[in-house]
Each structure stands twice: as structure tokens, then as C-alpha cells.
């Protein structure tokens, strides 16, 4: 597909340690800057990466204790899109079974958490989630 050639690719293997999401966000920032993405859009990418990594780091229970984050710069002659894939080999979940959180429900509930996917969907242009017994993969992209 036009504009979807992979011009550059970087993969991180993050150990399940506190604040590893920040390392991924730094890489996201550096790559998005190299594409000349606007600062506000870079910030949105950074936040989405943080959320996707936290979900994997906190909930995947992956036996290999790692989260893999791949950044792909897509385009033909010029960078057009940044695609980020966050993958774990954990227990998986069923995205369709997750009710979308609302502030009204969370204010009444003991459990205030569970916002990650809603934030990611709100900040990125395209988001796909694949999850099963072999782990979870979140693919998200944003145009430059």
C-alpha cells in the first residue's frame, strides 16, 4: 500500500521493571522527532506508548517477564506515519468483554483504574488489539 513501506524499524525488549514505560516513551519521542512530527502529536504518541506499556507490564503476567515495543516509520520518500506495536507473551484478555470506563461509574466505584485502552484510542489515529492465550499485541499508529 502506498505510504506504508517500512523506512526504519526499532525494537525494544523491556524487562518488567518499574518505569520501563518511560524508556519506551523516550524512544517514541526520539523517533517521532526524527520524522518531524509536531510536538503536540509527539506528546500524544508518548502518552499512548506509556499506557500500552503499563497495561502489558502490569497485567500480562508474561513468563518471559518482557514487553516488546516495535517502532516503525512508514512512508515512501518521506516519513508519513509512525506505527508502534506493543507485544507481550502473557495470559491475554478479551477486549470485547471490557466495558468502556466512564467517569460517572468510576466516581462511584472502588476501582478507579482501567482507562488505558480508552486513552490510547483517544490519542492515536488507529488502534488494533489482538489478544489470546499466547499474549497480547496492541498496534497503534499516528500520521505525521
Amino acid at each position: 500500500m502506498a505510504g506504508d513501506a517500512v523506512m526504519r524499524e526499532v525494537t525494544l525488549a523491556l524487562p518488567m521493571m518499574p518505569e520501563m514505560e518511560i524508556e519506551a516513551s523516550k524512544t517514541a519521542t526520539a523517533i517521532a522527532e526524527s520524522m518531524r512530527m509536531s510536538p503536540d502529536r509527539i506528546d500524544e504518541v508518548r502518552m499512548a506508548v506509556v499506557e500500552a506499556c503499563i497495561n502489558a507490564l502490569e497485567h500480562s503476567r508474561a513468563a518471559d517477564r518482557e514487553v516488546y515495543v516495535t517502532f516503525e516509520v512508514l512512508g515512501d520518500n518521506d516519513p508519513e506515519k509512525l506505527r508502534i506495536t506493543v507485544r507481550d507473551t502473557g495470559v491475554g484478555f478479551s477486549p470485547d468483554d471490557l466495558a468502556e470506563p466512564t467517569i460517572e461509574e468510576k466516581l462511584k466505584s472502588q476501582r478507579k483504574r482501567g482507562w488505558g485502552l480508552k486513552i490510547i484510542r483517544g490519542l492515536m489515529d488507529e488502534v488494533e488489539i489482538h489478544s489470546g492465550s499466547e499474549g497480547t499485541t496492541v498496534v497503534m499508529s499516528k500520521a505525521r
Binding site: 518505569e19 514505560e21 500524544e44 470506563p101 486513552i119 483517544g122
Partner: protein, 116 residues
């Protein structure tokens, strides 16, 4: 590596401003909550969270801010936010926080509005 959060407070007549600097994650959120609940115990019913020194937050940290909003509703107090980055402001709107805790562009307008 640790991205710690520094929290400072300016107590004023009838209002306290909480300033944050750094990453608002679970530890950061808990520190803000600790400071906010102390101010409530001291009698403050109007709190302003100035996030001008925070460039990144995560949803776990924001979830703790929702607990503070819940507490302010419970005591019929007011909580506002100011000086947010465009992405943090957008995130708060995605989550619906702005319906219960107004977002202001700057501290001056926040203080003026919250004290009315």
C-alpha cells in the same frame, strides 16, 4: 531510573494551590493525594492543582486524582486544574474529568473562578 514527582503547596486565604513537578504515576498520584487530604484536614475546601511542571502522566496516577475529585464532591469542596499540557488536557477530557474538576488555562483565571 526513577522519574520522581515533587509536590509543593501554597496556602492562601481560602484556597490552596498544589504544584507538581515530574511524572504523575502511582507514586506521584499518591503523593498528591497525601498532600490534598492533609489540606482538607487543615480545613481547605478549595484546591487548585497546578500541573505546569508535569509533562507526563499515566492513567494510574490520574485514577488517584479521581479519588481526590470524589473526596472533594463528598465534602462539597472545589477542585480545579490549571497549566496542563495540551495532551494532558486532552486526556482529562477523554476521561471526563473536566466535568467534575474544571480545567483552566492559567493559575490567575483558576484562582479567580474557584473563589467565586
Amino acid at each position: 531510573m526513577t522519574e520522581s514527582l515533587n509536590v509543593t503547596v501554597d496556602r492562601r486565604d481560602g484556597l490552596a494551590v498544589i504544584y507538581t513537578e515530574g511524572y504523575i504515576n502511582n507514586q506521584g498520584g499518591e503523593e498528591i493525594a497525601r498532600v490534598a487530604y492533609k489540606l482538607i484536614d487543615e480545613g481547605f475546601r478549595v484546591l487548585l492543582l497546578n500541573l505546569g511542571g508535569t509533562k507526563i502522566v499515566n492513567s494510574i496516577g490520574i485514577s488517584i486524582l479521581i479519588e481526590i475529585i470524589e473526596k472533594m464532591i463528598e465534602i462539597a469542596g472545589k477542585l480545579g486544574f490549571c497549566c496542563l499540557t495540551p495532551t494532558i488536557e486532552k486526556t482529562f477530557h477523554i476521561m471526563g474529568l473536566a466535568q467534575y474538576a474544571p480545567i483552566f488555562k492559567d493559575e490567575e483565571s483558576a484562582v479567580a473562578q474557584l473563589q467565586t
